[in-house]
């Protein structure tokens, strides 16, 4: 059955999951599509607010351009930083090949 254009499609869900690097099963595609459609339907209420003359707020901070003196300090030892690594070699994180 073709899906209405205005609603989130299964293809879009697959695309978003890929962008987010989330593996997803075909059953999950359908389930998340329906759930996200319902959530987005409620989020449409955002358009009730007239924001034509309103600036956006990204964060609520009063401070601007927080600076500090540039000074030398000990950093986290490599061993401590690597302690939780699932795979490592010497003092490196080890990952799968980026290309096969």
């Amino acid at each position: 059955m073709p899906e209405p254009e205005s609603e989130l499609s299964s293809r879009q869900v697959e695309h978003v999951a890929r962008l987010a690097r989330l593996g997803i099963t075909p059953e999950e595609v359908t389930r998340y599509r329906d759930q996200l459609r319902n959530i987005l339907h409620h989020i449409e209420a955002l358009n009730r607010a007239d924001t034509s003359k309103v600036p956006a707020t990204a964060h609520p901070l009063e401070e601007r351009n927080v600076m500090r003196e540039d000074r030398r300090e000990p950093s986290l030892p490599a061993e401590a930083a690597l302690r939780n690594a699932p795979s490592r070699e010497d003092s490196y994180f080890k990952v799968k090949a980026i290309q096969e």
Binding site: Y32, H42, A49, P55, L61, P86
Partner: protein
């Protein structure tokens, strides 16, 4: 009264008077964890040896009368989103199973400096995403007042621990109500400070422009004491405020006489339980009798706060959670043929359903073609919500309303319907978006289940919020009610 039923302030006096030692107190709380921990499931990890070691150090400090602080020797629970050096910290997620942070959160270091005792890491919704604790990657927490009910979330483990006597106090984190709502549902006090009041360094991030750490305690005095210990600028968090921290105890007992308190009409939302509304109306009348002047105010954009939040928070979460890729720490699936496939398998197997839902929602809202309609519009609505609060606080000193529209609901009641679950936070979310502070204080029982009065004060107005909450508490007995699991205060 059992030691584990007492408040920080009482126990501090007993410690200073040598009536008890911190080791005795810590033993009493650990015994209560042994007795009811399998029932509440409040903890993901109990740090028994660390607690006893810290208690011994606190006792030495008390004996030598060396820099004794209000929290010296007091057993405290930490929500699992807070990093503690060398102690497993997972944010309630399987993707961080076994992760031992190489450094501690600033709030943790501050409490260590006070000589507090760490009981362990409390359960929470995975990455603090949820309102019932049922999204924990490990197991759900039960409400000590009624075991078939949720404790609220996401700081449900911290709330249940304090309400069951498994901790004297706890730290939680609040992105859209995650301290206040579970505090209300378990009959304790929970305070969300203004963004920037408490350092977020070492807090496992959910939504970085909204997250705040705050106290969860048996009464308002304890809330003030714990906030005092953790508030203030931190060079490691450039979003922490440079504003000086006031002495919260100094004005706590000033009363509400002459204060102007506003009641936002929009906060009596559709779907609010009539008994909750009645309790809130009664609470407002009581504060009026205490000498406050009450007036109705309007926060006209309250109805769009929830949809704005469910764009902004997932958008920030989707980028914050990109770091969990199985490379540097945490779970790695293995078996991927290349790096991208490995990422996808790791995240598929490591994250739970709600976290995946929010990552996808956030990614969608930020994706090309939808950014303006969703993310930018939500950020503009956030400006309108900030303006609503500014206008209201020109007329009144603080705002009053319910914390949650209902008392605790049954486990499983809302797990199939994400939108129904999101509606739990409808009156707590505006304070996060609006950059103000809020406290929930017990204001009654509905069919044996606790509910909370929410007091909202302007940005960096924690002293005013605490003062109003204290005036209410001092005139009522609601905060003295103890859950069946904690036992009657003899």
């Amino acid at each position: 009264m059992k030691l584990y039923q007492r408040t920080i302030r009482d126990l501090h006096q007993m410690l200073v008077d040598r009536e008890i030692s911190s080791v005795e107190l810590t033993d009493a709380v650990l015994s209560q964890i042994d007795a009811v921990g399998d029932t509440t499931k409040a903890y993901l990890l109990v740090t028994r040896e660390l607690a006893l070691r810290q208690a011994q150090a606190a006792d030495e400090r008390l004996r030598a009368n060396r820099d004794v602080r209000p929290l010296t020797g007091i057993p405290i629970a930490l929500k699992d989103v807070l990093c503690v050096r060398d102690v497993v910290s997972t944010a309630g997620s399987k993707i961080l199973r076994g992760f031992t942070p190489p450094y501690s959160a600033t709030v943790v270091e501050r409490l260590e400096g006070e000589g507090a005792v760490f009981l362990g890491k409390t359960n929470c919704d995975e990455f603090a995403m949820g309102s019932s604790n049922e999204n924990s990657g490990y197991w759900p927490v039960r409400n000590p007042w009624s075991l078939d009910r949720v404790p609220g979330g996401s700081s449900g483990g911290s709330a249940a621990a304090v309400a069951s006597g498994e901790a004297i106090a706890a730290l939680g984190s609040d992105t859209g109500g995650s301290i206040r709502q579970p505090a209300a549902l378990t009959g304790i006090v929970g305070l969300k400070p203004t963004y920037g009041r408490v350092s977020r360094y070492g807090l496992i991030a959910f939504a970085s422009s909204l997250d705040q750490i705050g106290p969860m305690t048996r009464d308002v005095v304890d809330g003030a004491l714990l906030l005092q210990a953790i508030a203030g600028h931190d060079p490691s968090d450039s979003t922490s405020s440079l504003r000086p921290v006031p002495d919260y105890l100094a004005t706590l007992t000033d009363g509400v006489k002459g204060m102007r308190l506003g009641v936002p009409k929009e906060y009596f939302v559709a779907g609010m339980e009539p008994a909750v509304e009645q309790s809130i109306r009664d609470a407002i009348r009581l504060l009026e009798q205490q000498g406050a002047s009450i007036e109705e105010v309007s926060l006209p954009h309250s109805d769009v706060a929830l949809p704005a939040y469910y764009i902004i928070a997932p958008a920030e979460a989707s980028s914050n959670l990109a770091r969990y890729d199985g490379t540097r720490y945490g779970f790695q699936a293995g078996g991927g043929r290349n790096l991208i496939e490995e990422y996808m398998l790791t995240r598929q197997q490591g994250f739970g359903a709600e976290v995946k839902r929010r990552i996808m929602l956030g990614t969608y809202a930020l994706s090309s073609g939808y950014y303006d309609a969703y993310y930018l519009q939500a950020q503009k609505v956030r400006t309108l919500i900030i303006e609503d609060f500014k206008q209201a606080f020109k007329k009144v000193d603080a705002l009053l309303g319910a914390t949650s529209p209902t008392a605790a609901f049954e486990l499983g009641a809302k797990t199939q319907d994400p939108v129904a679950m999101y509606l739990n936070d409808i009156i707590t979310i505006p304070a996060n978006l609006g950059n103000v502070c809020g406290i929930s204080v017990p204001c009654g029982l509905v069919d044996g289940l606790p509910i909370g009065l929410q007091v909202i004060a302007p940005g960096f107005g924690e002293a005013a919020a605490l003062r109003v909450a204290y005036a209410f508490e001092a005139a009522t007995q609601f905060h003295k009610a103890r859950s069946p699991l904690m036992g009657a205060a003899a």
